[in-house]
C-alpha cells in the first residue's frame, strides 16, 4: 500500500469559473506548504479535500489517501484531520469530552478514560480533564485541539492558517509540536498559510498560488 496523499489533477471551479488547482503527491511525513494572498482559494482547496465544498463550487480530479480514492467519500469517512486558526473546541463539552469526541470508538469506559488521560499528559495538561475549555489559555486550547484531532487517527493532516491566531512565542512552540507529531505518525501534511516563517519551519516544498 502506498502511504501518503495524492491530488491527481484536482481542479476547483466557482460558478463555472476556474478557481484553483493542484496536481501533487505528498509523501508520508512530508509537509507541503501552499502560500498566496487571501481570496486565491487556499481554504477552498482544503475544503475540497475534506469534502465540504459549498454548493457554488465544483471539483474535478482525484484525491487518493493511503492507496484509497476518497474523492467521493462522505466528509466523515475520509479520515482527513484539519486544524483551523481558531481552536473550535466544542464549548458544551469538557476538555476530556472534547477528546473523547475525537477518540475512535471502541474499548471500555475505563480504557477510553485511560487513553484520554495519557493524551492529556502528552500535551502537559494532566488534571485538565473536567475543565471547561473556555477557561483554558490560547496555547492550551490549541494543544487540546491538536490532540483531539490526533485521537481520531487521521491519515492526513490539513492546516488552515492554523498558527495565525497565536502570538510569536506560542506559535513557534505549536509549530514544533504539530510537525513533530505529524512526522512521528508519518502523516502527509498540507498547510496553507500567508506567513513565510510557517513555510520555513515546515521545511518542505512551497507552492505559491495567485
Amino acid at each position: 500500500m502506498d502511504k501518503g496523499m495524492t491530488l491527481r489533477n484536482l481542479r476547483i471551479t466557482r460558478d463555472g469559473q476556474p478557481l484553483v488547482g493542484l496536481d501533487r503527491a505528498i509523501a508520508a511525513g512530508e509537509v507541503l506548504t501552499v502560500m498566496g494572498p487571501s481570496g486565491v482559494g487556499k481554504s477552498t482547496l482544503l475544503a475540497a479535500i475534506t469534502g465540504t465544498l459549498g454548493p457554488a463550487f465544483k471539483c474535478s480530479g482525484e484525491i487518493w489517501l493511503d492507496g484509497h480514492e476518497i474523492s467521493n467519500a462522505a466528509p466523515h469517512e475520509r479520515r482527513v484531520g484539519i486544524l483551523f486558526q481558531d481552536d473550535l473546541l466544542f464549548p458544551h463539552l469538557s476538555v476530556a469530552e472534547n477528546l473523547a469526541f475525537g477518540l475512535r470508538p471502541g474499548g471500555s469506559r475505563t480504557q477510553r478514560r485511560a487513553q484520554i488521560d495519557a493524551a492529556l499528559s502528552e500535551i502537559d495538561l494532566d488534571g485538565f480533564a473536567d475543565r471547561d475549555p473556555a477557561t483554558l489559555s490560547g496555547g492550551q486550547k490549541a494543544r487540546v485541539a491538536l490532540m483531539r484531532m490526533l485521537l481520531s487517527e487521521p491519515c492526513a493532516l490539513l492546516l488552515d492558517e492554523a498558527f495565525s491566531g497565536l502570538d510569536a512565542a506560542l506559535r513557534e512552540q505549536m509549530r514544533t509540536l504539530v510537525f513533530e507529531r505529524a512526522k512521528a505518525r508519518s502523516l502527509p501534511v498540507l498547510m496553507v498559510t500567508h506567513d513565510t516563517e510557517d513555510a520555513a519551519a515546515a521545511g518542505g516544498d512551497v507552492i505559491r498560488l495567485g
Binding site: 479520515r79 482527513v80 466544542f90 469526541f101
Partner: protein, 563 residues
C-alpha cells in the same frame, strides 16, 4: 432523521402543515359564500349570502372601522419605531427602551388589551388615581372611552403590542444592514442623528421589515380578541361581526359569515395594494427630500416625542398588567379609591377549578404545537444546511403567507369544512390550526441563530469522523440549546395567545385561558378577568423564563456558551 429521504421531505411537509389549512379554509369559505352549504340544507350556487351581507345595515361602518383601525395602528406603530430607532439607536436610552419593550412582545394581545381597558376606562385606574382630587369625580363619568365608536382605544391597544414587535424586527434588520457605519458617515457629513438615520439607514431597514409591517397591517385589520375587548360594538369591526354570524344558532347565518370572510380577504388585499402604492410614492418623495441635502430640523423635538410616546406605550402595558394583578387579588374596591380596601385569594380560589381546566388545554395545545413546529423547523433548517440551498425570497413570502391571510378569512371556512367532514372534535384540529401560526414564528426565531452558527464546527466534527446525524445531535443542537428553547417559548406564546383558531376550530369545546378570558369581556367582572388574564400572561411568559434558566443551569460550567 438520519436517512436522506425523510429529511428532504420535511420542507414540503412543513409547507403543507402551514399552507394546507389556509388553502382548505379559503376553499371552505368560497363555497358557502356562494350559497353551497349542504350541512344547512343549502346548495348553490347563489348570490343570496352576498345579498344578505350587503343588506346588513352596519356594513359600511364595519368596513370603515376595519380599514381605519388597521391602517392607523400600522402607521402609528411604524412611525413610533422609526422615531425611537432614528432618534436613539446606539445610546444608553435606547437600550433602556429596548429592555422594557422587548418582554412585552410575549404578553398576549388579550391580556394587554384588558390591562389597557382597566387603565383608561372611566372607572379605571387613571380615573381612580386622579379622583376626586384632580377631577372632582366621586362616581365614574358617563364617557365611552373603551369601546369608543371611532375605535381609538382599539388602535391604542394594537399600537402598544405592535411597537415591540416591529422594534424587534427592526433590530434584527439593523444587524444585517451595516447601519452603524452608514449612520457614522451621515453624521460626519453633518447630518443630525435622526435625519441621517432616516435618509441613510431606514431605506435598507424597511426593505427587510416590509413583510412584518404587512403582517401588522393584516392583523390590525382583522383582529378579533382585541376588538372584542377594546373596539366598538354597534356596529363592531367586520371581523367581530363575522364571528357573531359564525356563532349564530341559525346555521344559515354561516353563509353570510362566509361572504363576510371573502369581503375581509378582499379588504386586506386591497389595503395591502394601496400600501404598496403608497410605499412607492413615499419612496420617491423621500428620494427628493434626500437629494435636497437638508441636514435636519426639529431633531430634538422629534427625538423626545419618540422617547416619550414609546416609553408611555410600554408603561401603559406594564401598568395595565399590574392593574390586572391588583384586580385579581382585590376585595371590595369603591370607586375613587386608588387601591382596593383589601387583598385576598378569594378571586383565585373561586376561579381555580376553571383556571386549572383551561390551563391544561392551553398547555397541551401549546406544547404539542410548539414541539411539532420545532421538529419541522429543525428538519427544514438541517435540510437547508445539507443541501446548501438557503431560503429564497419566494420562500420567505410563503413563510409569511399564513400571517398575511386574515384569520377571519379562512378559519370560518376551515371550521365549516371540518364540520361537514365530521372532524370538528377534540384537540387535534385545534393543534393543527395553531401550528399554522406557530410554525412561521418558530422558523423566524430559530433561522438566524441557526445560520449564524460557525459551520467550521461541523467541518471539524466531520473530520473527527462524526456522521451528519452525529454533528446535528451531538454538536449543533447542544450548542444551539438557548436559541432552540427561545424558539419554543416564542411558539408557546403564539399558541397561548390564539383566540379565533381555538374558538372556531375547537367548536367551543376547547377552552383555553385565552378563550375563557375573552369570553368574560362582555360580562365586566373585573376580578374574574384579572384572574384569567394574569393566568394567560403567566402561561405565555413562563416558557421564556425557562428558556433563560435551563441553559444557564445546564451550561453553568461552560463559559463559552454564555453569550
Amino acid at each position: 432523521m438520519t436517512k436522506g429521504l425523510p429529511l428532504r421531505a420535511l420542507p414540503a411537509l412543513t409547507l403543507l402543515a402551514m399552507l394546507g389549512p389556509v388553502a382548505a379554509g379559503l376553499w371552505g369559505t368560497v363555497l358557502p359564500a356562494f350559497g353551497h352549504f349542504p350541512v344547512a340544507g343549502q346548495s348553490g350556487p347563489s348570490l343570496d349570502p352576498i345579498r344578505h351581507l350587503l343588506d346588513w345595515p352596519g356594513l359600511g361602518k364595519a368596513i370603515w372601522l376595519s380599514v381605519f383601525t388597521g391602517v392607523t395602528a400600522t402607521v402609528v406603530s411604524l412611525g413610533l419605531v422609526v422615531l425611537i430607532t432614528a432618534g436613539w439607536w446606539g445610546t444608553r436610552t435606547f437600550r433602556a427602551l429596548e429592555r422594557i419593550l422587548s418582554p412585552l412582545l410575549s404578553v398576549p394581545h388579550a391580556a394587554a388589551a384588558f390591562g389597557l381597558a382597566f387603565l383608561i376606562a372611566p372607572s379605571g385606574w387613571f380615573a381612580r388615581i386622579a379622583s376626586p382630587v384632580l377631577t372632582g369625580w366621586d362616581r365614574p363619568p358617563d364617557w365611552l372611552i373603551v369601546n369608543d365608536p371611532w375605535g381609538l382605544s382599539l388602535v391604542a391597544g394594537l399600537v402598544a403590542k405592535e411597537v415591540p414587535f416591529l422594534l424587534l424586527m427592526t433590530l434584527a434588520a439593523l444587524g444585517q444592514s451595516d447601519g452603524t457605519r452608514g449612520l457614522r458617515v451621515a453624521q460626519a457629513l453633518g447630518y443630525g442623528r435622526l435625519t441621517g438615520w432616516v435618509k441613510c439607514v431606514f431605506p435598507r431597514v424597511y426593505a427587510q421589515i416590509r413583510l412584518p409591517v404587512f403582517v401588522v397591517l393584516a392583523f390590525g385589520m382583522s383582529v378579533v380578541d382585541v376588538a372584542v375587548i377594546l373596539g366598538p360594538s354597534t356596529p363592531p369591526p367586520l371581523s367581530v361581526q363575522i364571528l357573531r354570524w359564525m356563532n349564530d344558532p341559525d346555521l344559515s347565518q354561516r353563509l353570510t359569515a362566509a361572504a363576510g370572510a371573502l369581503l375581509q380577504l378582499a379588504l386586506v388585499l386591497g389595503t395591502l395594494g394601496v400600501w404598496i402604492l403608497a410605499e412607492r410614492a413615499i419612496g420617491a418623495a423621500g428620494r427628493r427630500w434626500t437629494a435636497r441635502g437638508g441636514r435636519g430640523r426639529f431633531e430634538t423635538g422629534l427625538r423626545w416625542i419618540g422617547f416619550v410616546t414609546g416609553g408611555a406605550s410600554a408603561i401603559a402595558v406594564l401598568a395595565g398588567l399590574s392593574g390586572l394583578v391588583v384586580w385579581s387579588f382585590a376585595g371590595f374596591w369603591a370607586f375613587p379609591d386608588a387601591l382596593p380596601g383589601g387583598f385576598g385569594l378569594r378571586n383565585w380560589n373561586r376561579h381555580w377549578p376553571g383556571i386549572t381546566d383551561a390551563f391544561t388545554d392551553t398547555a397541551v395545545v401549546a406544547l404539542v404545537s410548539a414541539g411539532l413546529a420545532l421538529a419541522l423547523v429543525i428538519g427544514c433548517l438541517e435540510a437547508e444546511t445539507r443541501s446548501g440551498r438557503t431560503l429564497t425570497r419566494r420562500g420567505l413570502w410563503l413563510l409569511y403567507l399564513p400571517l398575511l391571510v386574515p384569520q377571519t378569512a379562512f378559519l370560518p371556512g376551515l371550521q365549516t369544512l371540518l364540520l361537514s367532514l365530521g372532524a370538528d372534535r377534540g384537540l387535534g384540529p385545534v393543534i393543527a390550526a395553531h401550528l399554522v401560526f406557530v410554525l412561521p414564528y418558530v422558523f423566524l426565531s430559530l433561522g438566524d441563530p441557526w445560520r449564524a452558527w460557525d459551520q467550521r464546527n461541523a467541518r471539524v466534527a466531520a473530520s473527527l469522523g462524526a456522521t451528519p446525524a452525529a454533528v446535528l445531535w451531538r454538536v449543533r443542537l447542544p450548542m444551539l440549546l438557548r436559541p432552540i428553547l427561545t424558539a419554543v417559548a416564542v411558539g408557546v406564546a403564539v399558541s397561548v395567545g390564539q383566540y379565533l383558531p381555538t374558538l372556531l376550530i375547537g367548536g367551543g369545546r376547547v377552552a383555553t385561558l385565552t378563550t375563557e378570558a375573552v369570553a368574560l369581556a362582555s360580562g365586566g367582572d373585573r376580578r374574574a378577568i384579572g384572574v384569567y388574564a394574569v393566568a394567560q400572561t403567566a402561561a405565555a411568559l413562563l416558557p421564556f423564563a425557562a428558556a433563560l434558566a435551563i441553559p444557564a443551569l445546564m451550561w453553568r460550567n461552560r463559559r463559552g456558551l454564555h453569550g
